[in-house]
Symmetry: D3
Subunit: 141 residues, 6 copies
């Protein structure tokens, strides 16, 4: 962690730090989200990078793979977050979750969120996996 | 109810039992949902059929028409469940709810879920009714 | 329906009409909700009575029992509506739903809303049934 | 306020009163929502106009600009209300909120609703602003 | 705004800046939230202060009164946020919203979130107003 | 996995299988939930055990620790699930998540669900940790 009580950082320093984390996890997809905000809410783009990634994601207390598991659970439960599920199912693959584990996590969500949320999230996963040539997913019965 | 303490069933038995209930209620639409899961999460497809329909829907304590009324309320309230509302507004018609009753249930939802949820669900109903040649719906003022 | 294009009604007329419907469905419980609003938001109390009950509940397109089924589904799905579930599980009993049917509807909600929402709603039902001496509920396995 | 205890109004009077308020705030967009309901749920259209606008929006206790701020917060938090956000971001501009203020409100929503809801609402704002030639939005860093 | 690209700040600087904003808006209540987190999640307490208040609340694009209107809308819509509504109804009074305006905003929420959310938020407002000797609220019919 | 296409199981077999998984994960707490349902909805108790634990939790595709991470995310995002968070924060400790990891997951939730959901879930964690003598939690700044 570099964001500590003794290191002084500018706004730009914090953004740069976050962008390094974002690029590691999301690749180009994260950059596209930021770019799409440039003419409407650059500050929201800044906060996604500098705060969400620079302050929270970069903390060592939970590795990237675990953070994506929590995130898949949250985005599925919230509902209406298909664009974010797209980004984070890609991110989940990037940080080492397998398609089988992602699908198992979304199956697990049926218990807590009900079938509609599980089905909608799985539909996004299908699209992401198709784009990356990962279908069919081989899960055990 | 066949799923009782004394009858032993295989995984396939439970699936078959559920598929009979699903087909009665949803016709072909249910099958399409299952098919779309075949290459990404066949187990989720299995659970929708074997558990949701085979274990829960088939219980005699509430007739299919009443189950769809509860379901319409839930899907409207959850939000972001337009694909499931499409399936279940069709199912509601299949089990004997009239377009007028469905529309009245969605109007009623405005009281509990607010106007946006009621409007979004009604937009799905309009599409389903149009596909089945059921417009205009004749409701009393 | 008395709220039509040709009958002129005062604000008080609409309130009185709603209060008759509210009393039929909720008994004293509805009145308590209205009373609790008297010193903080009498207009919200007015709208619950005059609009929700006077305009919507009183419509003939869906009988009171069916409206409560839809309402149980919505309140379970919304979450955090335990006080309203208390009122409406009582109302459901008042309009002719049996404890077995209410419990079956809440079991059905597990499919669409997940186990936590189903469990929380069932806990409210248990309290209401206990207060009215309706435990144990005899459901079939 | 004309909806008081002493003035008798017909159903049509209430509708007309609401339509005046709706047109002031939403311009033609509100009318389109009503029109789209004509063949499927004219009563929902009536209630949006007569109740939401005729009874609630027209109350003097909170000016139109303040009502839109509350509404932007609610629609963002609910999720899955992109069609309603489109209507109400337009309405917000109509009643005097600037693009900068709208964007600031949506940035503020990240604190309470999380990044996905803030991002989805901002995407709707971008589309509305583009349609009205209001991009780029100039916010301070 | 002091959080700009050219001023370097330590983690403590950002916290101090946020605490000044938090104290202005919430008085002692904010400090209590931070204190309650000290032994379980001091970092969450830090982020509430340094990010939510230091980065977002302090921005000049929307005055504190407007931010509370948006916040009341969001917390009402989210549901299950009674503890936060307590804090923010107090905050709303602190930044100049009157009890009448707060109640009007919560009445307005019935249109978008439905009656249960409006009723639950109003119950919190009643408790806050009672604690501060502000009952009865005088709203126009 | 024993629930396969070739093994025939009775309802009781499936329950027993689920109860073994439930006891491993939740210890006595799970049993208490089942007991509390015995006189109101024994079938819901059966389904929590036989389906949620016997069919879903026991699948080998995601280890118990990972399932709890996903579950913490979902319960935090849903809101109003404090009783279930209590059970599952206990379960998380039982399957090997440390207090520091749980707290980090809840901090992470602020990004996706907003501060109120993160604060409410953290308040439940504080209570669970206090009961188990695990306070203070030592997280890095």
């Amino acid at each position: 962690m570099t964001d500590n009580a003794t290191t002084a950082e500018t706004r730009q320093d914090r953004f740069d730090r976050g962008m390094r984390v974002l690029t590691e996890i999301d690749g180009e997809v994260g950059q596209k989200v930021i770019d799409s905000l440039a003419d409407v809410s650059p500050e929201l783009g800044h906060q996604v990078v500098a705060w969400a990634f620079g302050d929270i994601y970069q903390r060592p207390g939970l590795p990237p793979r675990d953070r994506q598991l929590v995130t898949l659970g949250m985005l599925t439960a919230l509902g209406g977050c298909e664009p974010q599920l797209d980004v984070h199912i890609n991110a989940s693959l990037n940080v080492g979750l397998t398609p089988e584990e992602i699908i198992e996590a979304l199956l697990h969500s049926a218990v807590y969120c009900g079938m509609p949320r599980a089905l909608n999230a799985t539909a996004v996963a299908k699209k992401v996996f198709a784009d990356r040539g990962l279908l069919p997913v081989k899960t055990q019965p």
